[in-house]
Each structure stands twice: as C-alpha cells, then as structure tokens.
Amino acid sequence: MRNYIYYRFKTLLGDKMMLFWTLLFPVALALFFSFTLVKVYSTATAFEAIEVAVPQTLDNQSILKAVLPVLEEEDLILVNSTKDLESAKTQLQDGEISAIIQETDGIVMTVKSSTSDSTILKMIFDQITQKTSMLERIFSQKPELAATDFINEAYTVETYTTQIKDDNMSFSVIYFYSLMAMEILYGIQWGVKSTYYLQAQRSPAALRTNIAPMSRLKLVLIDIGVVFVITAVEVLLLYLFIRYPLNISFGNQVFWVIAASLAALFTAIALGYFISVYLKGEERHKEGLATAITLTFSFSCGMQYPGLKYLVGRYLPWFATINPAYLLTDSYYTLYYGKAISIVEKNIMITLAIGVIAAILAAIRLRGDQYDSL
C-alpha cells in the first residue's frame, strides 16, 4: 500500500504543467494583483486637496479672501502661487491644476472638463455663493447683524456628517478571495486527472492499477487522499503567500477560514471525479469542461470584477447557491467583515452537500465499472 501511495504521488506530481497552472500561476496572479489592484483601490479613491489657481489680487472686501484660507486649512483646496491668468490657463490645460477661481461679479470657476475634483470644487463654491445670497436676505431682514461678527460665523463651516468608520473596507480583498476560490476549484482538474489513472479503460497506468491485488475501495480512497493532500498543500501555500508576504486579511477566525476552504476543496475534487466518470469522450474534452467550470465559477465570484459577486448573489441566487467558489468567497467576506458565523456555517453545509452528492454519484459509477475477469 505504501508503494501505491508513493507512486500515486509520483504520477500526479510528475505533471509539471498541472503544477504550474494550479500553483505557480495563482501565485503569480496574486503577485500581480498586489502590485497593481491593492494600490489602485487604496489610492485611486483617496481624497487629496485639490490644486487651484487664483490669478488675481484679492482686496479685503473679497469673499475669496475670507474663505480661501479656511478651505486650505481644511485640506479641501491648495491654492498655487500663479498670479498670471495666461499661466494659469496653461497649467489648467496641462492638468497641473483642477480649476481657476476668480471673483468678479461673483465667484467664477474655470475648468477643463467634468472630473470628480471639479465637481467637489463646484459644490464648495456653490455653498459659498449660497451663503452670500443667504446673508443678503438675513441682512435685509435684520440689518443690525451686519455690524456684528455674524459674517465670519456664517462663513465658518461646521461638520454635519460622521463617517461610519470601517477601515477594513477594501474592495481589493475580493480579488484575492476569488483567487483562493479558483485555486481550490483547481481540485476539479486534479479530480479529473486522478480518475485518468483509476479507470482501466482510460490509460495504461490505470490498467496496471486495476490488476493490483488491492480492493477497489482502498484504491479509490487512497487516490482521493493523495489528491486531497496535494491540493490542500497548494491551497495552503497560496493562502500563506496571500496572507503574509502580501498582507491580505482574512479576518481573525482562522479556524473557519480553514473549515470553509477544506469543505470547498472536498467538493471541488468530488466534482472533478463526477465530471470525469460521467462524461464520455476524449481526455481533453473532460479537462476543457473542468477548466470552463473553474473559470465560470471564479468569474462569477468576482475574480475579474468584484461587483459581479454582488450581482450574482442578488439576481442569480440559485447560481450562487450551487457555486462552491461563490459560497467560499462569501464565507471569506463574512469572516473578514466580522459578520455572523451562521452565514459561514450555512455556506459550508451547502458546499459539503454538493460535494457529498457528487462523490456518491461518482462512487456509484466507479463501483459499476466492470472489466473482463482474468
């Protein structure tokens, strides 16, 4: 038996291309994601003070003279030193500044195009324009206020909102979770590969295996065990790579991360066996179907576009329920976000149920294989 286990490992690990696609490729993808996407989602949306030019000398009566220092102090804008209008226009054209602000009859803002920066600037200066008309109305009703400190008080901006703090919120984690899901779904490929060495009609190696003096059940169990160990080690290596060098959080509940991953892994391998024993035809067709299922499931849980995970969950709930990759990323997301463990438990139960059904059906088929008696 020890020899059989040894040769099963040797045969499966001898496929260097399989190892490349199921281990090195996901590691490389994780690396590429961390080089690019993490930074994009941490800086692309981060707010920085918007640089503007005010190419005129402001007198003491000017509204801008009063409000610009306040806005600079609040890190909303950054006024550059340009005082020449033509230079400011060149800077705006070249994208060095986001707007030119001038005060003539009222505040006038010159922009190049509609960007989020120009939108924010418009909001800020709209607010100032509105306050000006508001003050005119107030002073017409109560002129004595004009002589007080009311103007300064009006132009002081107060804070009305408080952000619900959630520093954990990072869109980029979904890319890594779906990558882990893809890695686990490669168990389907391993399952397909494994039956190639198990069904006598499919390969010379399988033929030799089947004439070995060992019970069928034992052969199948060893086979599943070997595939499970290989894929589990691959998943573990990818997890450690993502978790530590790349520093992507999976939450604090490691036990549940492992449980959800192992359940999905079992199901992926069982699906691989199921596809392989029921689908007739050439090996490449079986491998092709396994690849297509892996990619479709990974895609639908947000590997290429994280928002797709939400859309699938909302509009195709039945597909989300039968997709082990979706259930797994949902569990990771739940653990990361610190939501109820019951969601993870439910996902694991559904995943295991799919796996058990696939395993039983595959076992029935494998058990029914009959070969000519020697």
Binding site: T36, T45, S114, Q130, T161, Y305, G307, R314
Partner: protein, 386 residues
C-alpha cells in the same frame, strides 16, 4: 506553397489559440466600459453625482427638505435597502446616509451627526459631506440669525438659496466629451490579446515545424530551405496581421462612437507597433521553446503579468515607481506610455511627437527579439550539424 498551406491548416486545427484570448478580450472591454464613461452627445460639462441612499429615522420637515435637496443634487436611489452596506462595499452605492431620530429637534443644541457609510477617505465621501453641508449650513445660519420666522419659511428660503450656483466656465477648446481617454484605455488593454494571440499562433507553428520528425521530412524534401523558411515567415506575418486586423475590427465595432477624434491614426500606429513587438517575440519563442504546453504557460505569464505591471489594465499613474521601472523592459509599458501621452497631448501634432520614442522602442523590441530568435535557431542548427 505547401508549407504555407500546412501552416494555415495547423492553425485551423487549434482554434482555441484565437478564441480564448478574444473571449477574454471582450470580457476586459466590457469591464473597462464601466471605468470609462464617454457620451458622444455631450457638448458641455456634466458634473459627477454621487449615488446614494438614505435612511430617514427623523422624518421631520428638515430631514424631508434635505432628502428633496439630495434628490436634486445626487443620483438618489431612495430609501436604503437591507443590503446597503454590501452595496457600498461593492461600489454600487457611493454612500448611505442615516438621519438619526430627533435630528431636527436637537439641531440647535446637542446636534446629532448624520451618519454616512462611505468608502473610507474616498473622493465621493467628501462630495457627499459637501452636499449635506450645503443644505444644513443654510439651516444653521438662518437659525443663528434668529429672524423670528417659522421653520417652514426657513426651509423655503434654503430651497431658494440652493438654486444659486457658482458660474462655471470651460477653458477654450475643452468641455465637449473627449473620447481619447476611453479609446486609449481600451487600446492599452488590447496589448494583452495582441501579444497572447500572435505569439501563441506563430510560435506554436514554429514549434511544430521544429519537431525533429517534421524537420527531417522537410530537410529531405526537394524544397529549398530558404523557400520553406520564407513560407513559414509569410504564414506567420499573415496570421499576425490578420489577428491585429480582427482585434481592430472588434474595437471599431464596439467603440465606433469613440473614433470621432483626429487622434485615432496615432493610436492605431501605436497599436501596430505592438504587433511588430509581438511578431519579434513570437519568432524568438518559437526558436527557444520546444513544446506548445510550455509556450502556453510562458506567454500567459508574460502577457498577463506584463499587462498588469505595464498599466494595460490599470492606469500607470497608480503603479509603484519601482514596478514601472521594471516594466520599462517590457514592450507593453511603452505602448501604454504612448497611449497616455496621446491622451494628454494638446494637439494631434504633439501626439505624433509624443509617440515617436515609444514607437521606436517597441519596434526595437521586435527587432531585438527576432534577431535573438534568428541567432538561437542558427546556433541550434549548427549544433545539430556538428
């Protein structure tokens, strides 16, 4: 032209080489269409609106007034649904506002804050804060002035005041929608499909022809070696150009509205330079690599990895300077850099000028790759003869 025809027959037998990258490409284009918004009808400025939902626990005149204002100034989605936090996480909402119970009652003393669930530190969170602030500042100031008028009167005044907006002018020559950014973004992404398809197809052909049995048969045939190689080269070039044309046709069909710019020839030439780099790379890999399986692994890493590192999928401005420094040794970097330069060019003349260096570098990559392939295959042939 037996060899030429055989090459085409081989390619017909491996349609996956073409179909899979094109399918991925279509997917990438679909995803990028979310990132780039271009409306050819747009002739003036349209400002971004945050997509929000609100939970109104107060249900007062003030909270209703605020919601009316938000309906006018944001892309208001109504009352928040139960999964609003998921929607914010997945960027389907820019934010969710929660107006607490007793907000109007406690506005002037012990004011409760309006809670905002937004992506932390994002630009849109600032936008949302400014929008809320615009309305509530009015309420604060009128209350502070103590004008002895009703609450409803104050809300009416605020409604009127918020109609006053800042005058916005557009810099001469700007304002209308410019398709360059979207077009350049899509063309940058197309480098992936050009490389992977051209290299996979041509290098696979060369690998098959380099197999000993095939090679020996070709050598003992009556055909001149130079003529055989010329036919292989012609087949390779035909496949390369055809792939590029198909890629361009897909881009045109999907993005024909975006082609209404004089910068299109510059962008097309840049893309053609990428084809030349890919052809050189294909000839080199076809000489070095022995099996299509290894080629498949290598080219996937090169095309996908190079795409990520060079900014084909995310803008170069978000990439680490060290990554960009490494990416300079990849042709994709120069292609994307040229596209970026074309986007920021002030005139078509400036765009042509900006393209010159990246164009030369991409062609140089192609020449160096092809020469390296030629030298390696020559050395291999000599080693076999010895």
């Amino acid at each position: 032209m037996t060899v030429f025809k055989t090459c085409l027959r081989i390619l017909r037998a491996i349609p996956g080489v073409f179909l899979l990258p094109f399918a991925v490409f279509m997917g990438i284009l679909a995803l990028l269409s979310f990132q780039y918004s271009y409306n050819p009808e747009q002739t003036s400025l349209t400002f971004t609106k945050a997509t929000i939902c609100v939970i109104d626990e107060d249900e007062s005149a003030l909270s209703q007034g605020l919601i009316e204002y938000l309906e006018k100034t944001t892309d208001y989605q109504g009352i928040c649904e139960a999964d609003y936090s998921d929607k914010v996480f997945y960027n389907f909402l820019d934010g969710a506002l929660i107006i607490p119970k007793g907000y109007q009652e406690n506005f002037n003393s012990n004011r409760l804050p309006v809670s905002a669930l937004v992506y932390p530190g994002s630009t849109l969170s600032v936008m949302l804060e400014e929008t809320v602030s615009s309305y509530l500042e009015g309420y604060r100031i009128y209350n502070k002035a103590d004008l002895n008028v009703s609450n409803l009167q104050i809300l009416e005044w605020i409604k009127a005041d918020t109609d006053n907006t800042t005058k916005v002018e557009v810099l001469a020559g700007s304002g209308a929608a410019d398709p360059r950014e979207a077009l350049a973004g899509m063309f940058s992404a197309s480098t992936y499909v050009i490389i992977i398809t051209v290299v996979s197809a041509i290098a696979t052909l060369l690998i098959i022809f380099n197999q000993t049995q095939v090679k020996v048969r070709a050598d003992v045939s009556g055909c001149n070696t130079v003529w055989v190689n010329t036919q292989k080269l012609l087949a390779g070039l035909l496949v390369g150009f055809a792939t590029w044309l198909v890629c361009m046709a897909i881009l045109y069909v999907l993005l024909h509205d975006y082609y209404a710019t004089a910068y299109v020839p510059v962008i097309l030439l840049n893309s053609f330079a990428m084809l030349l780099s890919s052809l050189g790379l294909a000839f080199m890999l076809g000489s070095i690599i022995k099996t299509p399986i290894v080629l498949n692994a290598f080219i996937n890493i090169f095309a996908l990895g190079g795409g990520f590192l060079s900014g084909s999928f995310v803008p170069q401005q978000f990439l680490d300077p060290i990554i960009l420094l490494i990416a300079r040794f990849l042709p994709q970097y120069w292609n994307v850099a040229a596209n970026d330069a074309i986007v920021s060019a002030n005139s078509v003349g400036a765009a042509w000028k900006a393209l010159s260096i990246p164009l030369c570098v991409q062609i140089l990559f192609g020449v160096v790759f092809a020469l390296a392939g030629f030298v390696i295959s020559r050395q291999k042939r000599r080693a076999q003869l010895v």
